[in-house]
Amino acid sequence: MCNVKSCQSGAGKSWLLGLDYSVVQQCMHCGLCLPTCPTYSVTRMERHSPRGRVALARAIADGRLELTRAFAEEMYYCLGCLACMSACPAGVNYAEIFEHARAAVETERVLQTPMRRFIRWITIHWLFMDLRRLLFLGALLRLYQRSGFQSLVRRSGLLRLLPARMRELESMTPDIPARFSAAMIPPVSPARGRKRYRVAFLTGCAQDLIFSEINRDTVEVLTRNGCEVICPPRQSCCGSLHAHNGEWTLAQGLARRQIDQFPPSEFDAIISNAGGCGSHMKHYAQLLSQDPQYAERARQWDAKVKDIHEWLMEIGLAAVPQHEAPAMKVTYHESCHLAHGQRVVRQPRQVLQAIPNLTLIELPESNWCCGSAGIYNITQPEMANQLLDRKMNHIRSTSATVVANGNSGCLLQLIHGARKHQMPVRVAHPVTLLAEAYRRGDRSRTHSSGEI
């Protein structure tokens, strides 16, 4: 019974690649998303808010606006943090609008330049399509760092020859660890004690490259909680980078690869320790809804994907034995996709509170984006830096010595922030803190039982 006169021109552009009109219509302009939106908070301009972006998408669907460069830039100015979805009373699926918009922008090549095309090809189309390439690059970077060459370059002043932007990117380069996940985690890790569950563990891409120790800690924590962990050495990227940057076909291919490598029916859970990846992977069914061969398995997959904290609390976290532990003041920064995308809010705090002698201090604006937002801190440095500074100031105000967080992008951003602001705060994943506590518990037991 609808007779709105609209959507006549250019179906592809107007409809943002098949976005259902009801998704944009759901917004009732109440504005409750505005106070949660980082870009609105900074700019106070309606266009840089979820309500504004939905209105633009709707205008395109109605044929009142073309798929312009300004619209394209706006959709890349949006962090994709999804704080708006948590705030929205009407249940607007902003994530869907965001992904469709970016995909349409790429399909129509609105922002195409040779340089941008080249960078996207190297990263999205090449490096992250086969992680062996990424890890190889990582190994080279590790050599550069550990051979002393990097500190030589940094001290020499050669970097001053680079443009400021490149210098900043250089300073953000993470330290590559000595070993990647495959060298530390066997393909099958048996449960310690009684085996209660069989789970798959996904090592991720950035997580594997930079935070392989967090992966090792995750597997250890799982085995201590009655889980047999399957973790093959060669894994794929989950595809969130691709889906969030308009490359759906690639994202779909990666989703199929994941499902093939880890058939959901063979596991009690499929564990991710990165908020961003977990969030994307819980929506494979939507990504593969048009693929009859994978649709059903994708639905099963979605139900099995669990964030590590979510899983631990669901199965009942094995208590950390009481032991002498250094008093730790910890504050918790929430990964946007873990909090808003996955709605996993209480569990990481519960995990932290299970650690003896750890005082958890609530971080003001804990669920406010840190500016990492995937590759946003590389593509939108100004806004990313504003948000980072805001986050670091809040962390400083808690006087915490440790900031805990469950996502690789955020961890990198916080490490960069701590360096930039010269704050002596440790940045750690809650699962690492838990693993350390378990190990201390072991040692104190051995110690006390070894006493005569």
Binding site: Q25, M28, H29, G31, P35
Partner: protein
């Protein structure tokens, strides 16, 4: 019709080029407010940062014969800040400073673009209380609240925005700046011009600064939830509570349709066979709160409630309150278009009005949930529909004609807190009578002879 380059450069000279928006993308973002199914593109949007700039913009607009629509966060529900054709949007969100907190006189002076939440937080930080709590308070601006005389859940006990405005800085259509009011508790010097501007919906002047009265923070609060098999019982309970000289700070109700939607959405275990749910909160001195809670619980039981639960701690209070606080959200998820309406009757007529709304909804085959502030008779009939269904939208219109006729007949008002704007403009003469409308027109002509301030809104 678009702005001449001369007009545009004049504006840019006043506020700075970056504070003037003219691109298609920006204008689309300002073509709506919080009212359902209303849209109108402006010509440009300007962001002044001072009263002086506002005055200059208005003077320039007079010269250019440019209509001006003042806007805060654009969360109004009657089209008050919807652009009029060919209008300049004067957006005050960047004038958001907290200027002065006076703890001796219990006042707070802020720029009009400060959010209601910022006002509440600034008060709270000093141990003081700013009671008006409109549903949009996290983002609505105080200037917008004053222009609409916004209400909220605490209206019965604490009053509305008007009761807290001690002073205003207003810019008139010709650029004259007036300061009205002061920090005195009593003041009868001259006509109270400040009261004209409160609720004037941007038609008499532009409010740029507000001096607010704060009160001490209540020490304690208690929350309870009661369900009733029949709406009449809930209404009688409310009457009995007030007759017992208890004025709760919150007295909210949900009707059966709303309860069903809330339960579908939250699964918190609300009974589906009840016709009314009451959320009651009392605040004040702990001894008074304890006494009032006991007495209200008894009154609920004496009037046939199915169940009454008193929260034992803050966590439980939040849980009980969530039924009411998620009502709007639960309703909004049901269909693509949600029309939140506003009708107020004297408290004694509330049950009858709810029944009438439900019957009218049935007559026109519409899905309508009713919730609202039972203590002050302010109802929010909420229509769950689809604006693309023009046939149904026509029935919605007819239904509301009847609803507002009945509201007037029962001695009520067509808008308790959302304002007239565009939404109630047509029915206002019926509600107020032609003579009152004529005098309101005189007032507009007096303050704005050129007719540039929010033309076409409220009364013309």
């Amino acid at each position: 019709m678009s702005l001449s380059s001369q007009t545009l450069s004049g504006l840019q000279a006043i506020v700075g080029a970056e504070q003037v928006l003219t691109s298609q993308e920006d204008l689309i973002a300002y073509s709506y407010d919080g009212t359902a199914a209303m849209q109108q593109m402006p010509e440009a949007v300007v962001f002044p940062r001072s009263t002086e700039q506002v005055a200059q913009v208005l003077q320039w607009a007079q010269k250019a014969r440019l209509p001006v629509v003042t806007r805060g966060s654009g969360t109004g529900l009657s089209g008050g800040s919807l652009p009029t054709p060919g209008a300049l949007v004067l957006c005050l969100v960047k004038m958001d400073r907290i200027l002065e907190l006076d703890t001796k006189n219990l006042t707070l002076r802020v720029e009009a673009g400060a959010t209601t939440q910022a006002v509440a937080d600034a008060s709270g930080a000093a141990g003081l209380f700013y009671p008006p709590d409109p549903g949009s308070m996290k983002i609505s601006t105080i200037g917008g609240n004053v222009a609409e005389n916004s209400g909220g859940l605490r209206g019965l006990k604490y009053g509305v925005t008007r009761n807290y405005v001690m002073g205003l800085r207003v810019v008139l259509a010709d650029g004259t700046v007036l300061w009205l009011g002061n920090k005195c508790v009593k003041d009868v010097a001259g006509f109270s011009l400040k009261d004209l501007f409160i609720g004037s919906e941007g038609t008499l002047g532009v409010i740029t600064e507000v001096l607010l009265r704060l009160i001490p923070t209540p020490q304690a609060k208690k929350t309870m939830l009661a369900t009733f098999p029949r709406m009449d019982q809930a209404a009688e309970t409310v009457s009995a509570i007030i007759a017992a000289q208890i004025i709760p700070c919150t007295l909210e109700f949900l009707d059966r349709t709303t309860i069903r939607c809330v339960e579908d959405y939250t699964h918190i275990g609300l009974p589906l066979d009840c016709e009314a749910l009451l959320l009651i909160e009392t605040d004040g001195h702990p001894a008074v709160v304890a006494d009032e809670t006991t007495r209200m619980e008894k009154i609920c039981r004496d009037h046939g409630c199915q169940e009454v639960r008193v929260a034992r701690d803050d966590a439980e209070a939040a849980q009980l309150a969530s039924a009411r606080r998620t009502a709007f959200s639960a309703l909004a998820r049901v269909s693509p278009t949600t029309i939140l309406e506003d009708a107020t009757v004297p408290r004694s007529e509330l049950a009858a009005m709810v029944r009438f709304i439900q019957a009218t909804a049935q007559k026109y085959q519409l899905r309508v949930g009713v919730f609202g502030h039972m203590g002050d008779g302010n109802l929010h009939p909420t229509v769950l529909t689809n604006e693309r269904n023009t046939e149904e939208m026509h029935r919605v219109e007819q239904a509301f004609q009847e609803i507002f006729q009945e509201t007037i007949r029962l001695g009520g008002t067509v808008t308790g807190e959302h304002g007239v704007g565009l939404a109630k403009k047509a029915i206002l003469p019926k509600a107020l009578g032609d003579e009152s409308i004529r005098w309101m027109r005189h007032l507009r002509q007096l303050f704005d002879p050129a007719g540039i301030l929010n033309p076409g809104k409220m009364v013309e």
